[in-house]
């Protein structure tokens, strides 16, 4: 019997689950190999759990979410979080930083009206997660790799090293060494090093790599005219909620 797969959504832009439908070449083969029994964005037929694999997009932002994710965890044998929202709270986790901008007060002005939590948090803060796919959005290739790896019983190839490894393999000239600020050295690979190949620095949508050394990167940024506060600002993006970046922002 083919594995029963479900796709769930929390606070998000839907971009990550759309990546499933963006796998045009593989889509029909995938739906032939796995049974997508729960995927409200794509099908009306809906089936309750248990599921073999559950893909979760989005961050936890409401009290109901807290309950729903626990149920989903119980229903799924393998739980895969997809994207920056699900793995680090997403861009909406900017609200977690009390000192940023005036919008926290917008949330708190009428808290009684809100069924919204003061924070946007990653799924793994609430339930154990088996596989994490990073990125805003996730990489289609990594998504396909994960699905095929689960079908084959393989460990998916999801490296935690820096973007630079992919950047060099691709043959892009380093934009940082040639004068443009880039977060690549402290950011997790997976996208294929897109930004440098478009002549801009990596802006970190895959979150921190393992062994991320932001303090050292600060010197490289200074060398291209970007002082420490600029680096701190740059880290306040789509993976602002990652603890390594939070810590680095405080230290900078």
């Amino acid at each position: 019997m083919s594995p029963r797969v479900a796709v769930f959504k929390f606070a998000s832009c839907d971009g990550c689950q759309l990546s499933v439908l963006d796998a045009e070449d593989e889509l029909l083969a995938i739906v032939g190999a796995v049974d997508i029994v729960e995927f409200p964005e794509a099908r009306t037929r809906r089936e309750p759990g248990p599921y073999d694999v559950g893909f979760v997009e989005g961050s936890i932002t409401t009290p109901e979410d807290l309950e729903r994710i626990k149920q989903i965890r119980q229903d799924c044998k393998v739980l895969v979080t997809i994207g920056a929202c699900a793995t680090s709270g997403g861009i909406q986790a900017l609200r977690n930083m009390a000192d940023v901008g005036g919008y926290a007060s917008i949330v708190y002005a009428h808290p009684e009206y809100l069924d919204v939590l003061a924070t946007s948090t990653p799924i793994a803060d609430h339930v154990p997660v088996d596989i994490q796919l990073y990125g805003c959005p996730v990489s289609k290739e990594q998504l396909i790799e994960t699905i095929t790896a689960v079908v084959a019983g393989r460990r998916p190839d999801l490296p935690s090293h820096s973007v630079c490894v992919e950047c060099k393999a691709r043959g892009t000239v380093c934009v940082l060494v040639t004068g443009t600020p880039c977060l690549g050295p402290v950011v997790r690979a997976g996208c294929g090093a897109i930004c440098p190949s478009y002549q801009r620095g990596c802006y970190g949508c895959f979150g921190p790599s393992s062994n991320a050394n932001v303090a050292s990167l600060a010197t490289a940024w200074e060398a291209v005219g970007m002082p420490r506060p600029a680096l701190a600002r740059a880290l306040q993006g789509f993976t602002v909620g990652a603890p390594e970046f939070q810590e680095a922002i405080r230290a900078l």
Binding site: A11, E41, I91, G101, Y113, C136, C195, Y198
Partner: protein, 431 residues
């Protein structure tokens, strides 16, 4: 005689982008309540845009919606350029249109084949449609892939592309990249034509209504990157006068703002509105295909929006080919400008309709205030009016069938709920 009350509720609308629900109540054959509401949790984009540098807006606002990120990038860069008193024209603008063509093709093909066609053909999803009609879905996927390929080549990736910036681009495409796109588009040109013919054969519920249609306009072009806003009731204003004419309101049951035209009420934006206001500006092939499909402006049957979408897809394929053909690389990937304080407005045509952005910037070109009006919020009232109409017309149908038609009529708008819940302030009327 006890009165008969029928309630049809769909707690979680499927095959739409985001989380919404629908409820209609009829008493003794009379429509009593019609609600299309949005419960997707808000993400407070306009709030956290405050304090961000203007250059971050295209990347940040893209994350409002994974299905139309290009639209957000376009409306935001136009608003910023308006604030700085510059405008991007010539080949840099053409490339923006090319990127937009990619998004239209991708988004329309997704909606037509995977989300909407199943309603007309009696399937619960594109996935099950593919089981019986693999050729049809394969054709849709080919088209979708071609659209995505444009966005990937110009933007770096299909969703949340990275190459758009205020003033132009980070990197210009190479001739080889554009030639590759031309080949890709040539290959799906026939698919785009066949798509119009195919959807024109779909059985349509027979409903007709007229309302005020709104779209942007740019002289001589089928609208994409608009300069003015026009309507079927004679509105014709520069984009920056948007707030003088349109107003957003809070509605209790929804996590989104509804908009209406001041003093007039609901209106529709999107493919049908664009077509009704600009059909003479379609590419020759698209105009011919529309004619052959029996589609004429004004199109008053909301269910025909699927045909309009197919026509626009063909238009985008042809427009893209024309842009590639005429492209001459400009000297620099972006124009120079001086950052300054001010306010700027921009609007463009997301696949689902007009997307309006307005920003206020301080002296360091940091955002102090942002306003985003996405198409689905604008259409919410007309969606409800359509539901009412359809309900009245089909009230005799059994519940299951009725529910299907009602859901289908919501999908006529290809609603994008993630977009609709961007909002700034929250004032929820809990009755």
């Amino acid at each position: 005689m006890p009165s008969e009350v029928r309630t049809i509720e769909v707690g979680y609308l499927t095959r739409v982008e985001g989380e919404g629900r629908m409820k209609v109540v009829a008493r003794d054959g009379k429509v009593e309540e019609v609600v299309f509401s949005i419960f997707e949790p808000p993400r407070f984009f306009e709030a956290f845009l405050r304090g961000k540098h203007h250059s971050e807006a295209p990347d940040i606002t893209a994350r409002i919606c994974g299905i139309c990120p290009v639209a957000y990038q376009m409306s935001s860069v136009h608003a910023m350029e308006h604030a700085f008193g510059v405008s991007v024209e010539g080949p840099l603008r053409d490339l923006r249109m090319l990127l937009y063509c990619g998004e239209w093709i991708e988004s329309h093909a997704l909606h037509i084949y995977l989300l909407h066609a199943p309603d007309f053909l009696g399937y619960e999803s594109g996935i099950s449609l593919a089981q019986d009609h693999p050729d049809i879905v394969a054709m849709g996927l080919r088209l979708k892939k071609a659209g995505n390929e444009i966005v990937r080549v110009l933007g770096g990736r299909e969703i949340h592309p990275v190459n758009v910036k205020v003033g132009g681009w980070y990197r210009l495409p190479t001739r080889a990249e554009l030639d590759h796109l031309a080949t890709v588009l040539d290959r799906v040109h026939d698919d785009a034509i066949s798509t119009v013919a195919l959807v024109a054969t779909f059985p349509m519920p027979d409903v007709s209504r007229t309302l005020e249609w709104v779209s942007t306009r740019y002289p001589g072009e089928y609208p994409m990157l608009g300069k003015t806003v026009v309507s079927s009731a004679g509105l014709d204003i520069p984009v920056h006068e948007w707030n003088d004419w349109f107003v957003e309101e809070h509605v209790a049951r929804s996590n989104a703002l509804h908009s209406r035209i001041k003093t007039r009420g609901s209106y529709e934006t999107g493919p049908t509105a664009r077509f009704n206001l600009n059909s003479e500006l379609l590419s020759p092939g698209a105009a011919a295909a529309a004619h052959q499909a029996g589609l004429t402006a004004p199109c008053t049957n909301p269910f025909q929006s699927i045909v309009v979408r197919a026509v626009e897809t063909l238009h985008a394929v042809e427009a893209a080919l024309q842009i590639i053909d005429g492209y001459r690389a400009p000297a620099a990937p972006a124009i120079q400008f001086v950052e300054k304080a001010g306010e700027g407005c921009g609007a463009s045509e997301a696949p689902r309709g007009t997307l309006f952005h307005r920003y206020r910037l301080d002296a360091k070109a940091m955002i102090t205030d942002a306003q985003i009006v996405p198409p689905t919020a604008q259409n919410q009232l007309s969606i409800e009016e359509d539901l009412r109409l359809v309900l009245e017309k089909h009230i005799a149908e059994p519940d299951d069938r009725l529910r299907t038609i009602l859901e289908q009529s919501i999908r006529n708008y290809d609603p994008c709920i993630s977009c609709a819940t961007h909002f700034l302030e929250l004032e929820v009327d809990r009755g």
